[in-house]
């Protein structure tokens, strides 16, 4: 009965790495602004679709992916500047509604520009599966895992070495104190939206050769990413990445051993149970508000 397990593990880790990256994007924005950005899934969609579009325009794959990620980062920053910053001082729920509005806008815009078809990006290095441990591993799965790890390492470096990264951490810690020592909180918010857009787009681009992409993939991916960062403990970027991996594996095993139709439900059931038992998430700090 467990013959399929290695295969499920590989596909779960691949999908989970993408969830983790999406969760990371939520965490970035949440830490600097306190907002849950419901347009995060649309960044993922844009990363995939823009890559496909640029490849179609004749750019080499690597350049196309890079351009797509940068373009999405710019869109993220624009979103902050045009829609989020003017809200300063309004209740948090208003900001959430605005992010929902922006996500509808981006989804509608993508539908107009790219059409409703489901499209695939060519795999980064061939499609011949590598056989190992009784599982057929797509080369793209290795790409997904490698890029995720590289991105995590780069972020770790960014937060510990660069002054911008440290400033962002300071904002996450205490906004008022950060602004007192001369950190521009608004600039950090802008940066966090840009970075989130970049990370989301990377997730979208590396996933697009495996799962294909379309204008409407953002919502479910976004929800899974949100679930990943709650699972790992909201506000903890590496918890979000780990949460994503766990979610992906759980989902993959649930689909394989229980019922594939209930794949999405499986992840959320586990998440709800966890929330009821340990609301601060697996790796969250204690002291989360609870009655």
């Amino acid at each position: 009965m467990f013959a399929g397990a290695p295969q499920y593990l590989v596909s779960g880790l691949t999908q989970g790495a993408a969830y983790g990256l999406i969760g990371l994007g939520y965490t970035m924005i949440f830490n600097t602004t306190g907002i849950i950005n419901f347009a995060q899934g649309e960044f993922v969609m844009l990363g995939g679709l823009l890559s496909v579009c640029f490849v179609g325009a004749g750019l080499p794959l690597a350049v196309a992916v890079l351009a797509a990620c940068l373009a999405t980062a710019v869109i993220g920053a624009l979103m902050e500047r045009l829609a989020i910053r003017p809200l300063a001082g309004a209740p948090a729920v208003n900001a959430v509604i605005v992010t929902i509005g922006v996500s509808i806008l981006l989804r509608g815009g993508a539908m107009l520009v790219f059409g409703k078809d489901t499209v695939a990006l060519p795999a980064f290095s061939g499609v011949r599966p590598i056989l190992a441990f009784g599982a057929a591993i797509q080369p793209q799965s290795l790409w997904v895992l490698a890029v995720t790890l590289a991105l995590l390492a780069a972020l770790k470096l960014f937060f510990t070495v660069s002054i911008q990264g440290k400033a962002m951490l300071a904002c996450a810690c205490q906004q008022k104190a950060a602004s007192l020592v001369g950190i521009s909180v608004t600039r950090m918010a802008l940066l966090s939206f840009g970075l989130s857009g970049l990370i989301g787009a990377v997730a979208g681009a590396i996933l697009a050769p495996i799962t294909m992409t379309a204008y409407d993939v953002g919502m479910m991916l976004g929800l899974k990413g949100f679930a990943a960062c709650i699972l790992g403990g909201l506000g903890n970027p590496f918890g979000a990445a780990a949460g994503g991996l766990i979610l992906g594996v759980l989902e993959s095993f649930g689909a394989g051993f229980v019922a594939s139709g209930y794949k999405d439900a499986f992840a959320f059931v586990v998440l709800l149970l966890l929330l009821f038992v340990k609301p601060s998430g697996l790796f969250g700090k204690a002291g989360v508000e609870r009655v």
Partner: protein, 325 residues
């Protein structure tokens, strides 16, 4: 202007009902009437959701699940089980309320984003069950053949008759909400919104009050779901998914948090808006997004708050006109 023996709330609700009943006279055709019926249904849910969100301060991103539970329960009761419609009506509301009660116990201990995630997860699980349990619900293609509403021997055949009934139900729901918020329970809910600690120290049972308002709002959503099923005689899971829950939340915020009348306006506005955007054909969804963002940006306290400020400005202008400095 106060009727003897009637409170201010009852008077307002009666005026509102009279207005609703007069609306069809001004409508050019039957199609607009069906939008008005859907508007009433949305308003019933949104008023309930606003009691939970605006007054008690608890977010729910899964309310469409209760809407769907009501609709599917009555659909299955009245067709497959062959029960009379009033039984289906009661069963739909009671089942949704029971589910809400069970869900409320662990969920309402959570706050803020965690509560949002938990209700969102609940809503998604329910909508996946609607999609996947094909034997029971008909799956993604929907459930057909639900009988048209019949109560006390009267079948609501025409849209006009159905609309009149919905107008009465909505007016009653509004009256209930207005009275509830002026009651001891309403004050307790508003108190726990501001500070649970302070409210608790005044002897308010926080958990019981939260659970009560959650179950009430779920029951109202299910009530709307029952009427929805017997109006369209067809239900599909797409109407009760995450997008529907978000739509309800947006109606609350757009109408104005903690404003019963705002909720009614927000529900009708957002129900009718897509119909008017049809003219834009393909870009309707983009225009919808722009209107949503712009409204929240420029009217941070919703349509109700915007109107209140506008009235305040007019009044000030009048005063300064009477007494110039």
């Amino acid at each position: 202007m106060r009727l003897p023996g009637l409170g201010k709330n009852a008077f307002q609700a009666m005026l509102f009902l009279a207005f609703l009943l007069a609306v069809p006279l001004a409508l050019p055709n039957e199609y607009y009437l069906s939008i008005c019926i859907l508007g009433c249904l949305s308003a019933i849910i949104v008023v309930g959701l606003n009691l939970l969100m605006g007054y008690a301060g608890q977010v729910s991103l899964g309310h469409a699940a209760f809407y769907g539970l009501g609709a599917y329960t009555t659909a299955i009761c009245t067709t497959r089980l062959g029960l009379p419609i009033p039984v289906g009506l009661v069963a739909g509301v009671v089942l949704a309320a029971a589910v809400a009660w069970i869900v409320a116990v662990p969920t309402l201990k959570l706050r803020g984003n965690y509560l949002a995630m938990a209700t969102l997860g609940f809503g998604i699980i329910v909508s996946i069950v609607f999609n996947e349990s094909v034997d029971l619900t008909g799956g993604p293609s929907g459930y057909v053949g639900i009988p048209r509403l019949a109560l006390l021997g009267h079948v609501f055949e025409t849209d006009r008759g159905y609309y009149n009934l919905m107008a009465v139900v909505l007016a009653l729901v509004v009256l209930l909400a207005l009275n509830l918020m002026n009651s001891r329970t309403g004050r307790a809910l508003r108190a726990l919104h501001v500070s649970e600690k302070a409210a608790g120290s005044l002897g308010i049972d926080i958990a019981a009050h939260k659970r009560f308002v959650f179950v009430l709002s779920a029951a109202l959503a299910a009530l709307a779901g029952v009427f929805y099923a017997h109006y369209l005689s067809f239900v599909a899971p797409a109407s009760f998914g995450f997008s529907a829950s978000v739509q309800l939340l947006v109606m609350v915020v757009l109408g104005g948090m903690a404003s019963v009348w705002g909720s009614v306006v927000g529900a009708f506005f957002l129900t009718a808006l897509p119909e008017f955007l049809r003219e834009f054909e393909d870009i309707d969804i983009v225009v919808y997004g722009v209107i949503l963002v712009a409204t929240v940006m420029f009217l941070p306290d919703g349509l109700a708050g915007g109107l209140r400020r506008l009235l305040g400005k007019c009044r000030r202008a009048k005063v300064s006109h009477v007494q110039p400095d």
